[in-house]
Symmetry: C2
Subunit: 323 residues, 2 copies
């Protein structure tokens, strides 16, 4: 199976430039923000979001070239994503994210608030100057969805009565909305038809949902390097994701443990055992597979090119993280 | 002299509705945000910013009526202002603002980050849906200026070498930009001429600067209710405003005290004495008077009406706070 680096190969150089530009843009003139920018936009991150925007931009262009506005859109996407991560880390009081120390922990929450605001502000300014009201609307919707998702996530902590639908709605707000609406925005800039716009949106939405479900499964199945066992951080913190919600359906006793917020000794181990003994992981996996499949279906109409190939391989790559 | 309540009389009901709408909009569906919204949008605040937008909307309308979009613009203005205050209070670690406990202190900084993000997000969403790219650009510039102002303010703490120009630039970013650009936005929605747009911008800019300078003078001259003497909070925290910068010109010894960040006993008292013994307050006052005068000059062309009268009286009211 392809690695993410291979997938992003068609736009590798563009992505590198973009990250360099972002580091300069955010860091300019402020030593502390500069340190935060270095930290945030250093090499090594996956940068899937701007990667998808650039791959789509290339795939939708006749000659494989794309405009400065497409490039700017990719930058805006990454700015919004990073800004929301930095603020979420303050709200969730997270000390690390994917093994890297958070800005809020490395510096302090003041720098994190400032850096996030600065990124949001830059994003909204560059967005306005793309001079396209439709794109402004699509991405301001994303900013609203991200805030709404964070609020909803906080509200539904340890709520064992929530449905898989609420979970998917939250996942859309927090993850899929940005990918869906930025994919559609590429279509707007590339002036594709209304039906094709819908397909692009759908590609991003389904890919985003697949991505989120896979992430949530991995929290249960992948071994934490330091712990040597699954971190199950989401469950511990009361964030009930697909595996947990399916496990509750299979064994309602799990609800009791959640309702008392794992306050008795051994509760969390019991909860993990219930998840493992049920068909929850299998069901969650098949949910992700469906999203991935639908995602691919949505862009069949795009003409063949290495970029299109990469876009079709992306959902498979996302699923591949499970094996 | 008129009170602010008298000045806002022409749009009193509109302003009341607006605050009610904001409370509902922000609080809907989230108990903690609701508490924060009650706290932020409770009656009693001066609400000068949406007040100016509504007065201008009324003054520029032939029949004294204005559209839903004008009203929405006023709401957006207040959302952006409040969002930036809430986040600034986290960054500045402020426990009270104008005698009222800050969100960050009353709840915690997580709620403050969330509430601010939610407000910014709502603002950017409603902004996009005003369906006017010029207005989107003007107000996204404001969001950028606010972030930039907060960054610059942090950087220039205890910097005795900064000039009055840097101070005014910062004041523009932090205070005047919002009033200037929202005033111009009213003009865009009311379809006035380009020259008139400039005048509206200028009215807001000069009024905003007058407002900021007066605020900064008051920190030195008005007695804090609890302290029974001027709070001089800005100076204590290293924010060097007009009075301080003029006092440095008159007596460079003040720089030494600032450079050592008032670390020796009696430093702050000495500094205040230097400000008092100099012509700094007089010079700052005359600076504010000039801004106020220019502000009035900028809107002479607006047809007579009670709203125009109130707009002309506003700069005088701002100065009146000094006496």
């Amino acid at each position: 199976m392809a690695t993410v680096t291979e997938l992003l190969l068609p736009i590798e150089m563009d992505l590198e430039h973009l990250l360099k530009d972002l580091r300069v843009l955010i860091g300019a003139g402020h030593p502390i923000l500069q340190a935060a920018a270095e930290h945030l936009f250093s090499a090594g991150g996956k940068r899937l979001r701007p990667g998808i925007v650039l791959l789509l931009s290339k795939a939708l262009s006749v000659d494989g070239q794309f405009s400065k506005r497409h490039r700017r859109l990719a930058e805006i996407t990454e700015m919004i994503h990073t800004a929301s991560l930095v603020h979420d880390d303050v709200v969730d009081d997270a000390s690390t994210r994917r093994g890297v120390e958070t800005v809020h922990n490395r510096f302090d929450s003041k720098v994190a608030v400032l850096a996030g605001d600065f990124l949001f502000a830059q994003a909204s300014w560059h967005l306005a100057n793309l001079n396209n009201l439709d794109v402004v609307k699509l991405l301001s919707r994303v900013i609203m969805d991200l805030a709404e998702g964070e609020v909803k996530q906080g509200l539904s902590k340890f709520d064992a009565k929530q449905t898989i639908e609420t979970y998917l709605e939250k996942s859309y707000f927090k993850t899929a909305s940005l990918i869906a609406n930025s994919a559609q925005s590429v279509g707007v800039l590339s002036e594709v038809s209304d039906i094709e716009l819908k397909c692009l949106y759908n590609y991003g939405k389904q890919l985003g949902l697949a991505f989120q479900v896979v992430d949530d499964i991995l929290d249960f199945t992948s071994n934490d390097k330091q712990l040597g066992k699954p971190a199950a951080n989401d469950l511990l913190n009361g964030y009930l994701t697909a595996p947990t919600l399916f496990a509750i359906e299979a064994n309602p006793r799990l609800s009791e443990l959640i309702n008392r917020e794992f306050s008795l000794e051994g509760d969390i181990e019991k909860a993990l055992q219930i998840v493992r003994d049920s068909n929850a992981i299998t069901r969650a996996r098949s949910l992700a597979e469906n999203f991935a499949k639908e995602s691919c279906e949505s862009i069949k109409w795009i003409p063949e090119s290495p970029s299109k190939r990469a876009l079709l391989d992306l959902p498979e790559y996302v699923l591949g993280r499970l094996y």
